[in-house]
Symmetry: C2
Subunit: 653 residues, 2 copies
């Protein structure tokens, strides 16, 4: 991967970016503001920059005059970086250079934590749940009447030291013809026991040698989206990935509505059938993309929240949503995939991740496993942020967990121009500290359509730090900018003027939107603080934070700390695992030990019902400010804000 160093002048800020990145994104990540209304689409023409040194591609636009072009001006949003550069932000699209120090913090996302396959191998934990052996069996004759299965079993014992073998009925059914039609040369598929000393199952038998083709599927059943990976059990590599909206979405967006539907006659069966259909679509895609034969897929591991798990397995979820919120079971036995309608070979077992409680499900348990939290000595805070936030605190010896409802703000719900993190969503933002003009960057660098969750966090954080909104989320009505205005009695900030937007309207952030975000972040903050208190700890004891969920990857950590979604912590101690549920499911395919360990982990997990913990509400009320009632918990932010105030005082004096 080629990288280049970009020096932004007059800020004198340097950043290293990948080859081909746009200048505007490099500037955003460096914390350098460039006015940009159109999200990076090249339409507004406001992001003029002078490329003083180095090579770029593109960047040319009819929004630039011939004179500008000749001087070396380019549109930052269209310019692709191809070498080290020196880029000057022109005064008119920047600010009073003395105010440069007042910029918001550079973008800082959590480091991405991936499963370390090599480490797994080194530790001897690369133990796929299924293995294959190629066998050239001796043929029976007058001296040797061994039954077919005994022949197979003896050979495995003699040649591979495999004992304690148990055979599936389907193998017994296949073996007589299979042996004789293939000159007694076959491949046996063995499923390992989770506990040492238990039996290994011979689950399949195939003609000839297929030992180089041994695959598994890992799947995460999200309320909204279902993701799958096709895993090569010989190399550990992911061969293909695919996602689909969970077909149950048409029955309602959240789990409660689905539970209500499942209570109707036939509703449960219908919802099961629908999610199985989604799973089968994904499997079809995975096979097609991965170019494998379905007969060589021998196991599937599935993780999902408690409701998704019960719906998948056709277990009535009625009591999940009724006090005292009791799920049917924490552990689920392995079942045959075909028995619930999954279109895989008959021999494939579906392993379903255990759950902890009605609101801390298999997706979270999988995240704890997949992220390695279950093995670390470090006191860890695991956060999966979505409409519901799940929180796990602990280390390899103990775990406390809880769930709280954050509301849909992080997924764009309840926000005037909120939208999911898809093309056209403003995902990054800064403002000029003097003109209050915005710099919007959208997913896909197209003209803006709305605001996604991570964009919203950044927006509110920047507006707060720049003094545009106060700690209660109210706009400063005294600022001289036409971007802040009152419409129908609600104050708002205009992010994108109609002409630069894709939706033929001004895109705004209202005080009501900000309030919703504050409530959402307050719920989460109160959630983990209460949970920490319940186990006699404080945030200062936390040695690392692991963020999970589709949302977490885009969060600008510094901004999350500004709004008080997270307490201040060294960002190096924060990592992001992406879809922890899928990661855990994959890990379970690659290392059989997980299946044993997860039972113990689940047993060690103590669930706290925050709704029944009195301090939760107190913590929540205290968190309904930016960043919090008690600013002392946010010393770095406090120092920056104090510094800014001092500067402004100096300026005006």
């Amino acid at each position: 991967m080629t990288t280049h160093d970009i020096l932004f002048m007059p800020h004198n800020r340097k950043i290293t970016v990948e080859d081909g990145e746009s200048i505007i994104r490099a500037a955003m990540n460096a914390g350098v503001h460039i006015n940009a209304s159109c999200g990076g689409d090249g339409v507004c023409g406001k992001c003029r920059v002078l490329v003083e040194k180095g090579v770029i591609e593109d960047g040319v636009s009819d929004r630039l005059s011939d004179d500008d072009l000749e001087k070396g001006y380019r549109l930052a949003c269209l310019s692709k970086i191809k070498s080290d550069l020196v880029v000057r932000i022109p005064v008119e699209s920047s600010m009073d250079t003395s105010a440069l120090s007042m910029q918001s913090t550079p973008r800082k996302t959590a480091k991405i934590k991936k499963m370390d396959l090599n480490k797994l191998k080194e530790e001897g934990l690369f133990l796929p749940a299924v293995e294959k052996y190629y066998l050239e069996l001796p043929k029976p004759d007058v001296q040797d009447h061994l039954p077919d299965i005994s022949r197979l079993v003896s050979y495995l014992k003699a040649n591979y030291n495999e004992s304690r073998l148990k055979v599936r009925m389907s193998v017994i059914r296949k073996i007589p013809d299979m042996l004789r039609q293939n000159d007694f040369k076959v491949t046996a598929t063995l499923a390992r026991p989770v506990q040492a000393g238990r039996k290994t199952h011979i689950i399949n038998i195939q003609p000839g040698d297929t030992t180089d083709k041994n695959y598994a599927i890992a799947m995460d059943i999200g309320t909204t989206t279902v993701y799958g990976q096709l895993v090569n059990l010989i190399t550990g590599d992911v061969l293909s990935e695919a996602g689909e909206f969970n077909g149950q979405i048409s029955y309602g967006e959240d789990v409660i509505i689905r539970i209500v539907y499942a209570e109707k006659p036939g509703g449960l069966e219908e919802l099961q059938a629908v999610v199985i259909k989604t799973i089968n679509k994904i499997i079809e895609k995975l096979i097609k993309k991965g170019k494998v034969d379905i007969e060589n897929i021998s196991t599937i591991t599935i993780a999902g929240n408690t409701t998704m798990t019960q719906l998948l397995l056709r277990v009535n979820p009625r009591y999940i949503r009724r006090a005292p919120y009791v799920p049917a079971s924490t552990l689920y036995p392995p079942i045959r995939a075909v028995d619930i309608g999954i279109k895989l070979s008959r021999h494939v077992a579906a392993l379903v991740y255990p759950i902890v409680s009605s609101y801390v499900g298999g997706d979270i348990v999988a995240g704890v496993m997949g992220s390695g939290m279950y093995r670390t000595e470090k006191l860890t805070l695991f956060l999966d942020i979505g409409t519901n936030a799940e929180i796990v605190v602990g280390n390899r010896d103990w775990f406390a967990c809880a769930a709280c409802s954050a509301g849909p703000a992080f997924e764009g719900g309840g926000i005037t121009f909120g939208m999911r993190a898809s093309k056209g969503a403003i995902e990054d933002f800064s403002i000029n500290s003097q003109t209050y003009e915005p710099m919007n960057i959208t997913i896909g660098s197209v003209r803006p359509k709305g605001i996604c969750g991570s964009g919203l966090i950044t927006m509110v954080a920047v507006l707060f730090e720049m003094g545009v909104i106060n700690s209660q989320g109210r706009f400063d009505r005294t600022l001289s900018t036409r971007r802040i205005r009152e419409t129908n009695g609600v104050w708002e900030y205009v992010l994108v003027w109609q002409e630069d937007s894709q939706i033929d309207r001004d895109i705004v952030l209202t005080e009501i939107d900000t309030e919703n975000l504050i409530r959402a972040k307050g719920a989460i903050y109160s959630g983990f603080m209460t949970l920490l208190e319940e186990v006699g700890l404080g945030f200062s004891d936390v040695e690392q934070v692991i963020l999970a969920g589709g949302f977490g990857s885009y969060i600008d950590l510094e901004k999350a700390m500004i709004i008080g979604l997270l307490p201040e912590i060294d960002t190096d101690r924060v990592s992001f695992v992406g879809n922890g549920s899928l990661m855990g499911a994959k890990m379970s395919c690659l290392t059989n030990r997980i299946r044993l360990d997860v039972v113990n982990v689940t047993k060690k997990m103590t669930n706290f019902e925050l709704s029944e913990t009195p301090s939760y509400m107190n913590n929540y009320v205290a968190a309904l400010f930016l960043p919090h009632t008690d600013m002392n918990n946010f010393p770095r932010l406090k120092a920056r804000i104090d510094g800014r105030k001092e500067y402004l005082a100096k300026e005006s004096s």
Copy 2:
């Protein structure tokens, strides 16, 4: 059970019989000949006897003159014994009294060996495979959010010290509603592991308290007949029994024809469906007769020969009949009964007895278990006689087994008037040593239709001992009786004249019939003698003989020794287990240990292929005589025959 002592005069032979038995059967069992042509139907009127003392019922017939009746004569076949009796056989229907000593041996059947439930209990082996517990679970509340299954599992641990529990998916599906609709009062059904330390499965959950209703089904799948028993797992009692012809019979009588059919496209599936239909019919009968709810039947154990087992489980039996005669597997995993179409609750596992080889099947293994042979120190010969005879030699430490084809003679096949052991079959027989007039007794005491297997053995034995046929099975052409005659070049003995028969024809025994019987008994005799030789033993080493099979119960042991089907052995050392397969299946329901032991027994069983053992043919040829080429192996018979010859020599001198 009331019994009476009957003294037969002038023979001066005494026998004890059950109340209500007929005089003619008592005479037959005592070895007292009374002419009787009509099988015991009261038609021929030949069995006149004088009741000198005691009380009888019936016995009156228009075949007796008023004078006879007044004197106390009755028809032996119609007279039911109601007290101790003195019965005189009149000279005209008996013989020269000096020849009384020349009577054949009294009937002697093997003692019937039943499963000793009390002993099982004493030894701590009454361990049913499934057990029930009634549970009044604490209800969840704000303080107690235990998931439903955890609630169940903790309760079982706390109250019954049950740990290492595993839960079936079906229980997880049922539990949420089941608990709440029954005030948390439910009954859990637990299936015990076969190996200590393995997990106990919670397989079912029912409303309220059903702990007093816990049933199992034992089933024997015979090639001809399928038998079932409904077993009460609380008391160990058999609540009902039922049998049906195996529906596969219409596809062919023997296993080979069925295998051929199974090789046709769809044939295997069809034969499986047909036997499952038979099984379901039996289950229906068992439930109806036993008056139990199908929901309370929690396990089924099935035993059958190798072909029946493979057809039942839909495993292609093609290679069973092709050299080198290799079955698919010896062990079969437990399967869900519903998965093969058995109409029992979804939670019921079907356990199928392991087999040893293509021709020593699960019925024999079940017999070895059920008869207790697997636990005895005594060197035992286990014989299951039918079209195919299966032989097991050994004791608790080792087992050698073999199968040989006896041909259908024992089931009436290949015998001119042969028939199955059903109503109208001559089952017992003797002759007057001077007039050669027969005494026929039929099943059901009706006019004769034909000869069944045990009748045939007795017939040939008696005719041989009385000198009517020689050791090659040829009739003595010099005897002055119209019952021996030549028809179309074949010599025969007329058992029943047309007027006394039910089929409007003379019923005869031909020399060809005798030859067929000699071949059948020769095959079996050679079978066990060869097997004993192969393990370095002789018949004198055998400490006990166990006979199994529907046929064995009726065999007159002394007669079987006369024809050389069995070597001479003290009849007290011979026992009969009836349907050993069903007995083993039942035992497996009652004592879970069997399921572990049977695996070891099966492993210890060494199979010998007699067709590949050169001495088998030599032994066979030597056995094609009555009783054998070497008369010295039959000293008791030799002594009797020598005595008879001496007597005749004396008479004629």
